[in-house]
Amino acid sequence: MNHATPETETSTGVSRRTALKGFGAMLGAAAFAKAIAPLTEWTRDLSVDQFLQKHYKELSHIDLQIILRRLEKETKENYGADVSIQDYKPQPGVKFGYALNLSVCIGCRKCAEACHLENNHDRPSHQSYIRVFEMSKGSLDMEKGNAHYDHPVPQKDKFYMPVQCHQCDHPPCVSVCPVEATWKEADGIVVVDYNWCIGCRYCEAACPYHARRFNWSKPQIPANEINPNQSYLSNRVRPQGVMEKCTFCLHRTRNGKLPACLEACPTGARVFGNLLDPDSEIRQVLAHKRVFVLKEELGLKPNFFYFFDV
């Protein structure tokens, strides 16, 4: 039959055709329900509070405290660890800067390991916000860089360049986020609200320093390895499907402490401090050392500097 014929309803009820169609529809609906059944396992981990949670910037103090306690409870349920999640605000008169001495770095990756432990990263993937590149002496061309070296360091003809988030002043990741889940705070740190991010990964495409990481799965960390001193915007255990990035350990640095990567460096290659304080160590680097900025031509005004010891 090439064209539609109207359904003639007989006085005895529905025709065979309609019955067949009804049966087919029921079958289809049942098949669809079965097909998307895995979603029910996923929704078990979600709660209405999580779903309705507002953006960090719209939370009142009380809202935030309730959420922090809820998140502590969820971490206990998911990972079996007792943690304390706080919220630290930026301090006035502070803008963080970080410098790295390329004459001194030996590529041991202890900074990456400290980040891995401090920030509650996924264990199997050796995830870290710091990626260390073994570069050939005589060239800053990252095409010749290698992040997968596994031999004693330092090698004679190589130098080592760790790369992490530069906390740019004109961050492209902040511009492209469609839901404002990432923003630059007053002390210069670019943060992510892990409960607001929709996981579109546009920021990961926009970042020129490979600084953003996505949670492709739920992070796996044994309970006894979880760092319990956490904060909402930095090192609390992130959920699956959201972006994350280096926060200059704001749960430490906003309390005046040094970031974990700096303390772990055995050669003292890292320098951190307040760019607005003319007596700070980071200002000494900028005043006295041969400083360069990676990909400076992109005009993003990063706050991470590389320097040499001459």
């Binding site: 090439n2 490979h210 953003r212």
Partner: protein, 431 residues
């Protein structure tokens, strides 16, 4: 629809509250009625869609680790398809230009086909975006007012606005025209002509905004070119007409509709020009990349020749080039109008060639090498292929149903009557 022949004259009391649900119900009835080919086709598509739905549910539960995307190649098959489909949606409606600006009467009938293609392609594109999200449950964060909408700084927000606006526009035009037909009333030009013209302009904007998503990123030199938006537009004007030409012939065969060769001729002529402009733009890009050289052109090297032994995309892009060039040669041949096989082969080749070039061949090289010059390759995983198949199946289902509902209209048009040589109910009504 037969109810139109039994409708009373427009002067009796009418309520849209009552008629519109009846119209929708008629559409539903229409969509589950057909011949055997139709049932087999729809059942097969439904089965594929269910496979895709299940794959997506698994992806949401287990996380995006089930895909082969990584922190190096963070967009893959989904966004590649999304980009291509936005172009297809734009291309479908661009055929409206000759209809209205050049008063091509035969092309008027084609505008509905193009707009329905735009609707189906847009729904598919939006579904691909949702499937690419790490947290689809947080979709409401995108809604202005409810969530936080980073407009106008984020190009993604522009994309959300223009794509949804374009969808609403086309739904309105098609819905209004079909509804008026259902009521047996003459459509008021005030309610669709301005929107049709708006949709022409809007079609350009959807693909331009999608291109701006990519070419605004300074960290990705492969995308950071001014030519990207024009390239997107010309390839849309190739893939859109190619699909429509094939769709018209399928409609002729499967639904017994009669379309004159005029619209097809116009579309082939459009394609002849746009496929050449598209090739010219590709040549322009290739020249700039390979003549300049340097690290910024590593991505083009990776795409066309591979780097350091990594060359997964090389066979794909060269096939795309071969397909597009072959399609161009076939289309430029004068005999393409008398040999349907030549035209159909050219259309299929052009469609697939553009799919490769604007899909995987555009998105993936932006990530290889990475911003820190690491080479990590990407081939989609089985789950990604399943989800892609499921969404394409759903899109084809929507398009089939939409065409099916609209096709009755053409059967009653005087153009078809002229072809068939008899009177139609329409002529009876008009007299």
């Amino acid at each position: 629809m037969t109810s139109s022949t039994t409708n009373p004259s427009p002067t009796t009391t009418r309520s849209h509250w009552r008629d519109y649900p009846r119209f929708l119900w008629q559409a539903v009835l229409e969509s589950v009625e057909g011949n055997r080919v139709f049932y087999i086709w729809m059942t097969m598509l439904t089965a594929i869609f269910l496979v895709g739905a299940n794959a997506w549910a698994v992806q949401v539960r287990d996380g995006m680790q089930v895909t082969n995307m990584s922190d190096h190649v963070s967009w893959g098959l989904y966004i590649a398809n999304f980009t291509f489909l936005v172009g297809l949606a734009a291309g479908g409606v661009m055929m409206v230009i000759p209809a209205y600006l050049y008063h091509d009467e035969e092309m008027h009938d084609l505008t509905l086909i193009g707009e329905l293609l735009a609707i189906a392609a847009l729904i598919m594109a939006l579904m691909f975006v949702v499937c690419d999200l790490g947290r689809p449950d947080r979709f409401w964060h995108l809604l202005p007012g409810l969530g936080r909408f980073n407009f106008p700084v984020s190009m993604l927000t522009w994309d959300v606005i223009v794509l949804n606006g374009y969808l609403m526009l086309n739904l309105h035009i098609c819905g209004y025209l079909l509804y008026m037909r259902f009521l047996g009333r003459r459509p008021n030009p005030k309610w669709y002509i301005p929107f049709v013209f708006l949709s022409i302009i809007w079609a350009i904007s959807i693909h331009t905004v999608t291109a701006f998503l990519y070419c605004g990123l300074g960290s990705r030199p492969f995308w950071n070119t001014a030519l990207l938006a024009p390239r997107f537009l010309t390839s849309a004007f190739v893939s859109g007409p190619a699909f429509i030409i094939v769709a018209i012939q399928v409609m002729r065969r499967a639904m017994g509709s009669t379309f004159g060769n005029g619209p097809i001729r116009t579309l082939v002529n459009i394609m002849r020009v746009t496929i050449l402009i598209n090739l010219l733009m590709v040549v322009s890009e290739v020249f700039v990349e390979f003549y300049t050289g340097g690290t910024h052109t590593s991505a083009a090297h990776y795409l066309y020749f591979g780097i350091h032994g990594h060359n997964l995309l090389v066979p794909w892009i060269w096939s795309s080039v071969a397909m597009t060039v072959t399609a161009a040669i076939l289309l430029l041949n004068p005999k393409v109008f008398v040999r349907p096989w030549m035209m159909n082969v050219a259309c299929v080749l052009a469609f697939i060639g553009i799919w490769i070039e604007k899909g995987m061949g555009m998105v993936i090289p932006g990530f290889v090498p990475s911003v820190l010059h690491e080479v990590v390759e990407y081939t989609p995983s089985l789950i990604e292929w399943k989800i892609m198949a499921g969404i394409w199946a759903l899109g084809l289902m929507i398009y089939t149903l939409a065409i099916k509902i609209a096709i009755n209209v053409f059967r009653r048009s005087p153009l078809a009557a002229k072809a068939q040589g008899g009177t139609t109910e329409e002529q009876l009504l008009a007299s």
